[in-house]
Structure formats: C-alpha cells, structure tokens
Assembly symmetry: C2
Homo-oligomer: 495 residues x 2
Amino acid sequence: MLPFKTLIVIDESSTIAIYRQIADQLIVMIRDGVMKPGTFLPSTREMAALLDKHRNTIVAAYEELITQDWIETLPRIGIRVSLNLPVIKPRSFQESGKKLTYSSPAKFSFKQNIPGLTTSAYSLKRSSIIINDGFPDADLAPYDGMLKEYRKLLRGAKIKKLMYLKDFGGTAALKESTVHFLNNSRGLNISTDNLLITRGAQMAIYLAAAMILKPGDNVLVTDPNYLIADSVFKQMGANLIRVPVDEDGMDIEAVEIALKSFKISLLYVIPHHHHPTTVTMSQSRRTKLLELIKSYQLPVIEDDYDYDFHYGNSPVLPLASSSHDSNVIYIGSFTKLLAPSCRIGYLIGPADFIIQATNLKRMIDLRGDTLMEEALSVIINSGELDRHIKKSKKIYSERCDQTALVIKDQLADVVDFTKPQGGLALWLKFNADYPLADVIPKAQSLGLILVGGAYYQGTDQKHNGIRFGFASLKEAEMYRAVELLHSITVLSKKQ
Amino acid sequence: MLPFKTLIVIDESSTIAIYRQIADQLIVMIRDGVMKPGTFLPSTREMAALLDKHRNTIVAAYEELITQDWIETLPRIGIRVSLNLPVIKPRSFQESGKKLTYSSPAKFSFKQNIPGLTTSAYSLKRSSIIINDGFPDADLAPYDGMLKEYRKLLRGAKIKKLMYLKDFGGTAALKESTVHFLNNSRGLNISTDNLLITRGAQMAIYLAAAMILKPGDNVLVTDPNYLIADSVFKQMGANLIRVPVDEDGMDIEAVEIALKSFKISLLYVIPHHHHPTTVTMSQSRRTKLLELIKSYQLPVIEDDYDYDFHYGNSPVLPLASSSHDSNVIYIGSFTKLLAPSCRIGYLIGPADFIIQATNLKRMIDLRGDTLMEEALSVIINSGELDRHIKKSKKIYSERCDQTALVIKDQLADVVDFTKPQGGLALWLKFNADYPLADVIPKAQSLGLILVGGAYYQGTDQKHNGIRFGFASLKEAEMYRAVELLHSITVLSKKQ
C-alpha cells in the first residue's frame, strides 16, 4: 500500500473542505500514474485511520471520486482505480518537472510604478471595524429585491437571449430606466443615446479620460483630489495642474487663471461632496464655471458620485443639467445606492462621444452583468430604488449628525472637520501632532482598519487627512471606532 | 382641475409600469409647482376615467405618492398635495429650459473611429434564435448553487467586511480556489502572487496589452485573429504583424521569420480552439514555439479561453505550464464555465507583473463583484464546478457532433468547416457565392440573429466566415437555425 499518510497533505486552515483536499490529491496520484487502473484503495475505515480523519470525510472523498469516474466499487471486493479512466492525463509536450511556473520575475519590460495602495498589514477578525472612504451600508441594500428578481428573470427565456446578444453598453431596459431615473432626479434631459452603462463610476472616469487625453495634455484638478482619478490621468500621460479647493468647492478664479496660462484639455470636478474634502460647490462658483466652460469650450468630467445623498437642504442640480454646449461628461454610480459589490455606473455625454466610448468599453469589458442590470432596471421601475434611497438617506443623515457630534466631543484636539451637506463620509484632518503614518498602523493593530485613510497616507503628507465613512457603521461600531482613535491619539501624540 | 389627460402622457410600450409613469408625472407637476401644496387631486375613480385606465392603476399611483409623502389623504374629504413636501425642488442655478442636455455633438476632440460592431438592425422576438460566437448554455449554468451561496453569504457578517476592504484583484478565497483549480486542471504550478482576477478574459487581454505595449510596438497575431484582441493592440498604438494559421494552428515557421525580420514586443496566441478558426495547435509547433520564446525572450499572451471544453482527446497542457522563462502571460475565464453574464476571468504572470497589473486594474474597475467571487469560490471548493464542467462537456460534445452532422448534410455546398477538437463553436467558411454581407441581414430578417458572424462581416471580406456557437442551442433550435440558413442560401446564391 502506498504511504498515504505522507502522500496526502491536509491543510486544516484552507478554505477548501478536507474531503476535497483528499479527493484532489488522490486524483493527482491517479492521473500521474502513481495509482494505476485496477489498483485497490484502502477501505474507508482503513484510510480514515491512516489519515487520522473521520470516516465520513473519507466516504465523501471516495464518493467524489466515484462521481467523477476515477474509482469504482466492486461490491464485496473493494474499491479500485477505474479501469477506464475518465480523462487521460492532459498531454504535456515538454518535461514539466515540479518547479514553479513563474520562478523568476518577468524579463520583458512592462509599465512600472503604477500607483497602488500603501496599506499596513492587517488580519481581518470578527471584531474588526473597517472604516471605508464612503460606502453605503450593505445591510440596508435591496438584496432581497434583487435576488427575487434574479430568480424571476432566470425562470424566463428572455434573460438568456439578452446574454447572448452583443453588449451595447448596458441592456436596453436598464438604459431606459436609468435615463428616466436621471432625468427625474437630476433635471437632465437625455435619451439612451447619451448613456453608457459601466462598472461603477471608476470605469466611467477611465473611459472618459482614455477618450479625451493624449500624452502631454494638461488636466485641471483640485488639490487634494480623488486619488484614483489623478492616477488615471497620469496613466494617460497627462500633466496635472492643481487648483485649491476651499469651503465653497473648487477655486474657480484659479481655474480661470490656469485657463489663461495653459492649454487645458480637461477639467475634472466633483461638485457635490468633493472627494476627499466633502465640500459642496457654491451656486455662484457653478455659474462662473459654466461661463468658463462655454467661453473656453472646455471639456469637463463632472463626477457626481454622491448626488442622491444630500441632507442639509435640497441638492443643486448638476452642471450637466444646465447649458454647457455639450462639454460636460457626467458620471455617477448606482453602487452608492446599492452595495459596494454591485458595480453599475454610468457615463453621460454627447451621442457621438458615447458611440466611441461604448466601442472602447467593449475592449475592456466585453459585457456587463446582464442579470444584475435587468434586476436593477426592475427595481428602478417599480419604485423600490426610490424608496430605498429615501429610507437610507434618513438613516445616513442621522449617522452623519451623530458621528459628527461624537467626534467633536471625543477628538476635538486631534482632528478638524466640517460636517458635510451630504455624502457618506467625513473628511477628518488630523492635527500635525498626529501623523496618519503613525495613527493608521496603530489603529490597524487594534482592529480598526482605516481603509479610507490609506489613500492619503504617505502619498501626500501635506494632506494629513482621512475619509471616515460613517454611513456603513452601526451606532456601536461608530462609538467603538472613535474610542479606539481617541486611545491611539492619546498614546501617539508627537512630543 | 388641470387637464390631466393632456399633461400625463403614457407610453404603453415602455418597460416602466403605467402606474409608475402616472406617479412620476404627478411628482414632476408637484415639484415644478404646477400643483401646489394643498391642491386637491381628482378621486381615483375620476382620474381613472380621465386617463382611460383601470382604477387599480390609479390607486397604485396614488399609493406610491402617499408612500413618498407627495400627497396625503384627508379621510372623507379627499386627496391633496402634501402641505409639507418631502424635498424641495433641487435648486437649479441657471435657467434650465426644456431643451436637450446634449443637443449638439461634442465640440472637443476625442478618439474617433474606435472599431465597433457592424450589426444589421434586428428586433428580438420570442421566436428569435441567436447564434453567438461560442458561449455556454445558460440553462445549464449552476445558478441555483450560486444563488444559494449568495443567500448564505448575505446572512453572515463576513461578506460585508470583504466588500469594504480595498480590492486586491479578487477576494482572497477566490484567488486561493482559482490557483487550486488551475494547478489541478492545467498543470500550472502557481501561487496567488501570480494571479489577478478580472472581469472575464477580455479585461485580462486589455490589461496585459496596456502593461506591455507602447505606441509603435509590433505584435505578432494570426490571420485571422480574435477581432477584439486585434482592436485592443491597435488601441495601444501597436502594429499588427500577421502570420498564417492552418489546421495545426499558428504557423511557427512564419513566427520565426518575423522574429528574425522585426523587433517583436508581443505574441498573442490561442493554442486551444483558436478564435475564430477553432483549430488546436499541434504538439510539435508548441515545442518549437517554446524554444523561440526562450531564445528570443519573447513576451507572449496565451489566451486559453476554452481549455476546459476539449472533446476528442485529452487537452494538451498550456504553454504556460512548461518552461518559458516567465515570458508567458496566461489568460482564461470562468465565464465559459458559468454563463455569459458571470464575468470572472484571470490573468496569470510573474509576481512583479501581477502587482502592477493589479494597480492598473483598480483604475479601471475599482473592485470585483465580491458576492459573486465568494460564491464562485465556494462552488469550486465544493466540487460543484468540476461536476458542472463534466456534465456540460458531455452535452456540448454531443451538440458539437450533431451540429457538424446536420450542417454537413444540409449546407454541404454552402459552407466548409472542420469539426473542432473542442470549444463551443464551429468556424463556418461560406463559399464565395454566399457573401455573409448578404446572408447575415437576410437571416436576421427571418429571426436568425448571427451575432458571432458580425465580427467578421465587413471588416475583412477575405474571411467570409462566421463562428456558429452550437453549445447554447437546444436540438430543435439548431435544426431550425440550419434550416433557415439553408433556405436563405438557396435564395441568395450569387448568380
């Protein structure tokens, strides 16, 4: 008998079930000819003893092998490797050996130093609290409605037909529903020709930038700005020209000076709840910016990722809803209305631009998730999405108020912030005595994982701030998070 | 009373429910101040008569408005516009007017002529048969298992934590399961450091090309080649150098001549069931190609999108599994194993390459579908995916044989093809008497939508061929499709 105890290595910490680990290793032995057709295996009882596992585990492993035709049972005789194996070992055309497929680094040249994430190591525990940079609470997400629609859709024949058709940037039904949703909520007046469905706002930013920018072009952005947008523009070979952002949003006088001084190919602006600072642009600046857009025929990406969650007063309509001579590319996302994993966003622009952007999108992402797109369309049309927005807006507004109160109370000497008019995060500027490069790893060692913070830490120390996503935190988690931050800052104050 | 009959326009053909259309238009009237707070609405009975709709439809519309606090019921008096409206109209900071947001084409410059799809118009009917270019049958897809896992995962707290963490190119569990799956099925010997999870193989091709290519670089591809890969390379500014493909796959002697004549930055190869021609590369050519890869240190994208469905004999292991000095980037997809809408693929390469590719991926697609990734991991680990592959491979193999027989019988004078050793499509080369530019629109007018064909039609007339995806066709559909093609070709033979 083979030395199964040594041959079969079981990793108790693996996510792969133990019976599967056993079955898989037996398959490899059969495939590799270590166990030849006709060889008898130990009985389940014997194998259980050999491997020091429960017999039921072995029974499950053997059943798996029987289902797959690797082994066969001869009643009253035993279990043997099948005489007709289900697949012959895939033919290797070279000696494969046991060495790693990728034992050396790449020898060919490829793009280096693409900006990534600087994160301290952490292990996720049951008690870990994750502070994200402004995502909705997945517990509130309309998953029940979505899954119900999935099941309904899968019972019909239509969804399968839709899956086989080429993708034209979203299913027809979702495009119609989204147009309806945007025209009603944002005062846009668009048709489906102006719309491309994407994987979240991020893909929309990438596509718009790839469509407009050439290497050497100048892009106007705020200082600081949404970091991954900056990375995208740099990836396209563009230069970033930064203008300040204050409590009224992007400094439009600085924009005007830049327009007079440089050839600007694109302006990127987040008018509602600017990322990362959460400020909302004032009406007078919007009016002035629109004038500049028209007089300079300036292409603009308006990233309005957070429009639907505005608390203090009614939201101001997007730039895209006003007269802009078709210069504003408008970007948003359903992700913030659903859950982080439901990545459906949109890119709005002139019809000729959308045709080309759709062609480009197909090269990157052949089609969307047809099932999710159709289900989302149903919950938009039924009004479920509107009700969900209304309900969660109320909850997030309360969480915003309460988080602001608690942080003001507990961390007054540590952080400075202004309660935003909307959105899902606070922008906490840490006092220089508490460098985030120290605070973040300390927090992570205590189970407080500041994901939103990792954006700003290290890359640009002059902005010693983090996004504190309050929307996804239950009351107790928020209190605990602030308490942990408090205890860390007491200990880590720079002397 | 307002002229509701004229004010409320109902589109019976819309996917939006009629009660929603009525509710939405009433909301707009309230928002716009056409109906002021305190104004009484007609009773449901009166409104039903006015709009010529069933009273229940009006009741549903009013209930929607009541839920949203736009109107309120005064018992025994009537229904009026709420005195305290739920949201004040979003403030426009410019006269918005009623004109289209994007009334003119874009005035700024953007990338033009990005290759798209040339498709004849069609309308999807219940009886339509769609011939795709090689997708699995969604009716066989393990949706039940996936949805069951969705529900289970959503009951736990872990999935929500995973959603809030930054994405490192796939969840840790899916990366582990995929490594296990690939090492077992393909003789790879990789770790999770060599793996990036993508949205299907398409995104993996895009990322690899974007990482490796600079404008002006030369890329070696077959003639013909997977059209969207060609588009991606051109999008990166690369030149395509084409080598022939015959019944043994890519012509490796031609590759060697090209390597001697040009500086080649990348070779793109599909060794199993080449797209579009379905040929599988011979062992001797693979061996020769590996020698060239090593002697020229040639970077290669090996697109192995169809590895798991090989019928005739056992599949040959990928190039990536043999010794290649870390030069082969290996690409594949779970989409072909699940359903067209479940887009999860992978990019395999040296660890240093994968780090940068992951950073680039995040700029395009901030995170994957955490829920789908975790569910897929479970069905890989439980063995359900292997069982599904085994089951569907048997069905597809039969469909392949049968489709080949029927086409040989019915279209012998019309098309030429070789039954492939695997994969989900046949490559039908139409006789020059039957130009696909004629056949495809005629077929579409009869409800036979040749989606796979649209790739090759028009763009490159010398390849008068289409991919005929047989895997997703039930027997009756396949017979009907061939019958329709037969009747069309009888009528449309060029004189």
